[in-house]
Each structure stands twice: as C-alpha cells, then as structure tokens.
C-alpha cells in the first residue's frame, strides 16, 4: 500500500471529473489507469502528483506510504512525472535536461558537479542514449525524447513514477518497442509506477494491474487477465477489446436470438468467441450475410450483417477460415461459444 487514494472527488464547476474514488496502488507495481477521454484518469494522476488539488472534504485523503500528503506540492511529494508531450526544456541539451533536477538543489541537498555527472551518465546509459548528451530536444526522435523525459524524472530519485499517456504521441512501431523497453526497465528498477492510457492494448501488455475508469468512477480494478476475462460491467467488456451485442435468451448451452418476446437480455460476445457454420447447426445459429473479409494479419477478421442490418464482428484463425472459405454475400450462421450477460444494462 504505497499510494492510497481515499474518497477523492474533483469537480470543475458543474463537471465532476472524479466521483468519490478510492484506490490503493501496491508497492513495486506498474499500474495502468485506463479509460476513455473524460473518464478522469489524467485528473487522478495529476492529483496524485500534486499538480491538481481535489475538492476539500474531511473524508478525502491521499497517503504516500501511510502519510498524508495533502497540501504538499509536487516537489515535496518526490514523484517523477513524465508529461504526455515530454515537456523537455528546449534550450537545454539532453545532459542539461536530465541534470536540471539535481542542479537546482540548494542547501543541504546541494550536489557537487562531479556527482551530478556520474548520476546523469548512469541515467543516459539506462535510457540507452549514451552518445547523445549534447543533442537538443529538437534533434531527437519522439521515442528518444520520451526516454530523456523519463531519465529526467528518474534523476531526482523519486518515490513513485507517474506517466501521463507516455506513448500517446508516438507512432505504432516506436510505441511497441518503447513499451517493451519500459516494461524491462520497470523490472530492473522496481519503482512503483502509475501510467495513464486510453489504449487498452497498452494497458494489457504493460501493466501489473489495471484500473478501469469511466465517468469519474472506477469500474473495475485487477490484473490484465481479470479485467479482460472477467469484466464486471458491460463498459469494461466493451472497452477492453471489441465486443458484439446480441439480444435474446440463454437456454442451457444455447442462445435463442430473439429481441421481440419479453424477457430478452443483452448478450455480449467477443469476436474470437463466435463460430461460423455454412449450415444452420442443431443448437441454433443466427443467420447472417458476409460483408467483408480481412485476411491480412494473424487472424481473419470477418464483418457480418444480420437480418436487422446489425453488424457483427468475428475473428477466426486462418485454419478455420480455410475450411469453409466464405465469400462476400454468402449466408453463414453465427454461434456464440462464450457469452457474457450483465445484470445492469449498458448500451454500446
């Protein structure tokens, strides 16, 4: 329990960015705050950092290692903060950027020049930019800038590392590499870290724990496995990967597709948990027409349309697809293999 957030609410005028959020960030873990824009994830991160202040309330508190940090500014909280757009100092080179947090120390914390050099050299090595210390931010690629921003945040030996959409401004390939690198770095230095993202794939791949936020509330928290396979709400199910919505009843092992009679419910099925048959099987399938087949990629993505013009997305392995080999316009029968039904209705 290294960071505790207790009953935190934040409003901007009439708008509630965070609604009574409580959360514990465990020690040494890499935690993702995941949610769509406007879910309050960045606000929560900024409140943890001390860049924003939550609404005053005697029941609210933020504790670092058991001690309240209310009223502490970001510098006192000793957190490393990595900004979405890096926020590097443009008139300083890489070395000066990383050294900044050490050079501004005064009084008993003052650091001799030699010691600063050692620390910065160490960090440059850590971010694998040993030879670029004289470069200016404008002369670096996006991925390099992000790593410099990270090294700069780490230079002050923070208790926690907070990252705001760390890969948001990078292109797909660089993002993947940097993600893997950050994961390795985390395993190496074991610093409790929180990062904000709207990209579910990033959260699933990188985090030890995921906190899913929606409209200022925590929808679910758990390991990537838990939130993906056991979503507690339709929102989480929908947000973590694509999902199909059917209406009907579940009777035993089979699904009766029926949106007309009373008692039908929304049924959620992931695209890879639907099977397709050219003939209607005994268990009863939903008749659909093939609209589009995307063969490029590790799986085959198929777009179907049912009689009420609703779109259904299915993912099949290439092997399975090759057995039936549907063409566009063919009629196929969709049979869900695994369904999820939530008590609470949520429309997508």
């Amino acid at each position: 329990m290294s960071i505790e957030i207790i009953n935190v609410t934040k409003t901007f005028g009439n708008y509630t960015a965070l609604n009574n959020v409580s959360l514990v960030i465990p020690d040494g873990k890499l935690v993702a705050l995941l949610g769509p824009s406007g879910s309050g994830k960045t606000t929560l991160l900024r409140i943890i950092a001390g860049l924003d202040v939550f609404d005053a309330n005697p029941k609210s508190d933020i504790r670092f290692k058991g001690k309240s940090v209310i009223g502490h500014r970001i510098a006192e909280r000793q957190v490393g903060f990595v900004f979405q757009h890096y926020a590097l100092f443009r008139h300083m080179n890489v070395y000066q950027n990383i050294a900044f947090g050490l050079k501004v120390r005064r009084g008993k914390n003052w650091m001799p020049r030699q010691q600063i050099r050692e620390r910065v050299t160490e960090l440059l090595h850590l971010i694998q930019l040993d030879n670029l210390e004289r470069r200016y931010p404008d002369q670096l690629s996006g991925g390099q800038r992000q790593r410099v921003a990270l090294a700069r945040a780490l230079a002050i030996e923070p208790q926690f590392l907070l990252l705001d959409e760390p890969f948001g401004a990078l292109d797909a390939k660089v993002r993947q590499n940097l993600r893997r690198w950050l994961r390795q770095l985390h395993e190496q230095i074991k610093l409790t870290s929180v990062f904000v993202t709207h990209d579910q794939e990033e959260a699933l791949e990188l985090a030890d724990e995921i906190v899913v936020l929606n409209q200022g509330k925590i929808e679910q928290e758990g390991t990537p496995d838990e939130v993906f396979h056991e979503p507690k709400s339709a929102f989480v199910m929908d947000f973590l990967g694509s999902v199909n919505l059917f209406h009907g009843r579940i009777e035993g092992a089979s699904v009766i597709f029926d949106s007309k009679t009373a008692g039908h419910r929304p049924i959620f099925v992931r695209p890879h948990e639907i099977d397709l048959f050219p003939e209607n099987p005994n268990t009863g399938g939903l008749p659909t027409k093939v609209r589009r087949v995307q063969l490029a990629g590790s799986i085959v993505k198929i777009e179907l349309q049912d009689e009420s013009q609703r779109e259904i997305f299915v993912e099949l392995s290439h092997e399975k697809y090759n057995v039936y080999n549907f063409g566009i316009g063919d009629t196929v029968f969709a049979v869900p293999q695994r369904t999820v039904v939530f008590a609470e209705y949520y429309s997508i």
């Binding site: 950092a49 860049l51 500014r73 970001i74 510098a75 957190v79 490393g80 903060f81 900004f83 979405q84 757009h85 926020a87 590097l88 100092f89 443009r90 008139h91 900044f100 947090g101 501004v104 120390r105 700069r152 945040a153 230079a155 002050i156």
Partner: protein, 268 residues
C-alpha cells in the same frame, strides 16, 4: 529539392530593396561627396554634433533598456494574469504606435514641463527638471519604444508551455529558478527582438522628442534635429554627412544586437 520561383522572388526582392532602401541610401553617400574630406570631418566631429551623438545614443540605449525591463513586466502581467481592465490596458499599449509623434511630443511636454502634472511635482519634491533636459529626451524615447517590446514578447509568453513549468516544479525548482532557467531563456530571443526594435525606433525618432527636448545646443539636441536644421539652412551635404555617420553607427549597433540574438537563438 529546389523550390520553383527562386529567380522571380529574388529579382523582386532585389528590385524592391533597391527602390526603397539602397537608392535613397546611396544618394546619401553621393550627396556627401560634395564636401571635401576636411569639411566632412569638421562637420561630423564638430562639438555640437558630437554632443548630439552622445545624447542620442545614451538616451536611446537607456530608453530601450528601460522598455526591455518594464515592457517585459507589462507583457508578463497581460499574458499571465486575468484581472479587470486587462483588455483596456492591452489596448493602451498601442497608443504610442498609433498617435502622431508630434501629438505625443506635445502631450509629454505639457505633462513634464514645470507647470504640468508630473513636471511640477518632480521639480518641487525631487528637484528634477524633466522637460527641456536630456531626461525629457529619455522620457519621449521610452514612450515611443514601449509597444515594440510588449508586442513582440506577448506571443512568446503565450507560447510558453504549462507542462514545461510544471516539469520544472516537479523536479524541485523554485519559482525563481523556474523563471530564471526555464521561462526567461525561452523568451529571451523575443525580448532581444523587442529591444532591437525599440532601439532602432528611438535612434531615428524626431517628432516626439523635439518638443520635450527644448533643443538646447550641446545639451538637448538630438542628431535627427541637427540634420533637420542643416537641411533648413540648405546645407544639404552637411546634413547628409551627419546622416551618413548615423547610418553607419546604427548599422553597427544593429549588427551587434543581431549577433547577440543569433548567439542566444543558437542555443534555443
């Protein structure tokens, strides 16, 4: 890649520059050749003229420096704070731009003369005479230069990234350290540009100065005034001779400031 249209653009640039700048300036040199070398030296180094150079350059430099400091503060307040009347003050900054210089000159003289609102108290309590002294010249030059600094700094200050300031704060920098090491260096090139513009404007200023200066020989005569006086006396070659010296001097001042600017922006 070669951009098309280079010849046309270059040709146009050279023609325009020649018409507007180079031809008038070469006439300046041409006219000066009507003087013998001795006459030229005597004209440009006469005690009265030398006194005017000293006044012009000192007052201009001081005025531009004052504007750099207070213009910075003004631009800072206008950009960073929200207060009632901000837009009004913002509009007022343009007045020295918009007002005919003679009007500014007369207004300032009225204000600073020992019967004026400011001049009266300055003399009574501080013993300072403002109008008809070098101080008056300085006041006029400060007045006309202010908008240059404010208007060049404003966009630069608005462009400052909130993130960058927060980053400095997160790294433990105090507000002063953040200002001195992050914000100030970021707007320094703009500040230098504003300073240069204010300096250049003040160097050649005539209208607003002549009223408040009183034009006392050896004391409050600016160089532009001497040139004008020579013209009125139909001493064209002498007028152009003084103008030529001013031209060369301002060229080197500008060159010097530009070198500083180049040096600072190189590190940006």
């Amino acid at each position: 890649m070669r951009l098309p249209g280079f010849r046309l653009t270059f040709g146009f640039t050279v023609t325009y520059l020649s018409l507007v700048v180079l031809i008038p300036l070469s006439l300046l040199v041409w006219h000066t050749f009507n003087l013998t070398f001795t006459d030229f030296i005597n004209t440009v180094t006469s005690r009265q003229v030398v006194a005017s150079y000293r006044l012009t350059f000192t007052a201009t430099l001081l005025a531009a420096l004052t504007n750099a400091v207070f213009g910075f503060m003004l631009a800072w307040s206008l950009v960073r704070y929200r207060f009632p009347g901000r837009r009004f003050i913002d509009a007022i900054v343009d007045i020295p731009f918009a007002m005919p210089t003679a009007v500014s000159g007369i207004a300032l003289t009225t204000l600073c003369a020992n019967t004026g609102w400011v001049g009266y108290y300055a003399e009574k309590y501080l013993g300072w005479q403002l109008a008809y002294t070098p101080t008056g010249v300085y006041i006029a030059l400060t007045f006309i230069g202010l908008p240059f600094v404010v208007r060049t700094l404003q966009p630069a200050l608005e462009d400052l990234d909130k993130d960058v300031e927060e980053a400095a704060e997160a790294l433990g920098a105090t507000r002063f350290q953040t200002f001195r090491r992050i914000l100030f260096p970021a707007v320094l090139p703009a500040l230098l540009t504003g300073f240069t513009l204010a300096f250049a404007r003040a160097l050649g200023e005539y209208g607003s100065v002549v009223f408040i200066a009183g034009n006392i020989p050896f004391s409050t005569e600016i160089t532009s005034l001497l040139i004008y006086t020579k013209l009125e006396e139909f001493e064209y070659p002498k007028a152009t001779a003084i103008a030529l010296v001013m031209l060369v001097a301002s060229f080197f001042s500008m060159l010097f400031i530009n070198l500083i600017q180049w040096y600072t922006s190189k590190n940006n």
